[in-house]
Amino acid sequence: MVKKKVPDWLNSSLWSTTPSAASSSTATTDTNIFDHHSPTTASPPLESPINPPLPPTAIRDEEQQQPRHHHNHHHPQKPEIKDKLSKSSIVDDDDNNNIIINNNYSDDNIINNKIIITNNDIRNVDDDESSAEDISKQALLLTELSKKVINMGELRRIASQGIPDGAGIRSTVWKLLLGYLAPDRSLWSSELAKKRSQYKHFKEELLMNPSEIARRLEKTTVLNNDNGKSESRCVLSRSEITHGEHPLSLGKSSVWNQFFQDSEIIEQIDRDVKRTHPDLHFFSGDSSHAKSNQEALRNILTVFAKLNPGIRYVQGMNEILAPLFYIFKNDPDEEMAACAEADTFFCFVELLSGFRDHFCQQLDNSVVGIRSTITRLSQLLKEHDEELWRHLEITTKVNPQFYAFRWITLLLTQEFNLADSLHIWDTLLSDPEGPQDGILLENGSLMVPPVGYKPVQYWTEETLLRVCCAMLILIRRRLLAGDFTSILKLLQNYPPTNISHMLYVANKLRGQPSH
């Protein structure tokens, strides 16, 4: 058949994000926590999506919960479906990122849920952070993390469902996922010390300005003006310079020359750092914290640029760096937070190593470059939703480069606010699926990454592309109804959406389409 229809599970009202009075199955949640239930006693669904904002200092109550059901194994990994909260409260958060609360629960299993939130910086928390789910995940993660040797596969499995915000778990888990911390706990302190001192060494070496370098190199006598009341009048002695090092030197090996050449990049980094997340107090504003955080970002990017002359600094790296630093700096463990800069540097390097080919202009048209990745996204969309693909590519001629470029290179940080990005990154980082060699397909053939790709890089990109594809599929109705302008407007300002839902859909796109 030519036209592939949208899979049924996608069309079920289970996934619709607008409150519908007639909702589907109303099975009780006694046996299956994933079934949606309509809010019976929870009043007519709230019409306005805008609820009064919560006082930001409201503290989350982690109250007793009933014995948890373990996830049904044949349900996919997105457990955070609002079984606990009524449907109406899942309405998209509005532009002000107000947090939706609804205290009415129809389910008699649920005890009063007092809800929430937040860090004063994260302005939106997914509604799926219902405490019960979270506590169990938190418990699972903590158990896993406290083992002597951590089972990475298990950790990935749990982490890919989302990491709870509290207790600094995310910071540790990300460090493990990125390979900064070894699975064996006993190695941690020595490894950390080594890495941190290495970073310090980098900073000292690379961030010095030439005056200081010259001072270190010189062996000539310095004329000390220490005699304040000296009557001595003399001709100041001239001394030879070492290695032809003077500020106007044009020599390639001259420290000064390199400094001036680098200053352009440093200026660019400085500009971008100042523009990172202007809405968050953590990064911008006049407080000393913001300044020191910006300083840290600047240092990391500068050291990276100097250590990688091939790729230097490209605009956008600051956006990838920001969530990492944010998480590590906000680690409740004092010692970890103090060394956040060094840790972030190495994790940033690791994270970027999977995606650095996207930043290299020469590779744009190569197999590993950004164009080819965008083509892969197109292919993926075509496989799973040909109607939408046709509409975008052929009917309205929306070149995927117009929207997907930013999605892919910046790992979706610019499309969602910080909290949502963190959630998405949980899935991205914990899910390089597939063995090193390839994926065994249903028809028996082996899907391997094309030549030139590192397997881990390929599979991580696969995950990212699946999420992008899910993003497209979720708003398909609006896309199908739109023309070039409206589609582009929609995709370049992606509407707020339910992240867990999106990740669930992305996960379903794994492997080959079912029909």
Partner: protein, 191 residues
Amino acid sequence: MVLVLALGDLHIPHRAPDLPAKFKSMLVPGKIQHVICTGNLSIKEVHDYLKTLCPDLHITRGEYDEDTRYPETKTLTIGQFKLGLCHGHQVVPWGDLDSLAMLQRQLDVDILVTGHTHQFTAYKHEGGVVINPGSATGAYSNITYDANPSFVLMDIDGLRVVVYVYELIDGEVKVDKIDFKKTTATTHSAH
């Protein structure tokens, strides 16, 4: 780490056509933060050229300058140092350390930069340091014979100044440096 270029006595176009090519190739925009010029440029085109090197340009009037609006002396504060600028033909005897020291005390500066003699010198006395960057073009002077083109670049870094002296000797650029430290910090006044 502030770079300050000090030069003067170019006497373009009367006594010299242009800066030596080797100097010109080194003086590129973007590296230098301030330019101080002792005078005797002499024409506006030289002023414009110096302006391209750096927007912060300070000039004092030499006796052959065609623009009469330059001041006789100038003082400025850069970092922890106070610099004074004067062409030097006003200070008699020309190039005499004692008289220049008097001027320095009068201007109350740490580093006094003067010219007119077309000869590079750097003196230290109890009040501070007097630097003469010489003539950047090596123009003829009735005081100094066979003047070599020279200029001075100061790297001001906290309480320390490294003075790089650039001279064109026999067609080659020779660079020397002089270190100078100050003991007390300057209290900044609004400039």
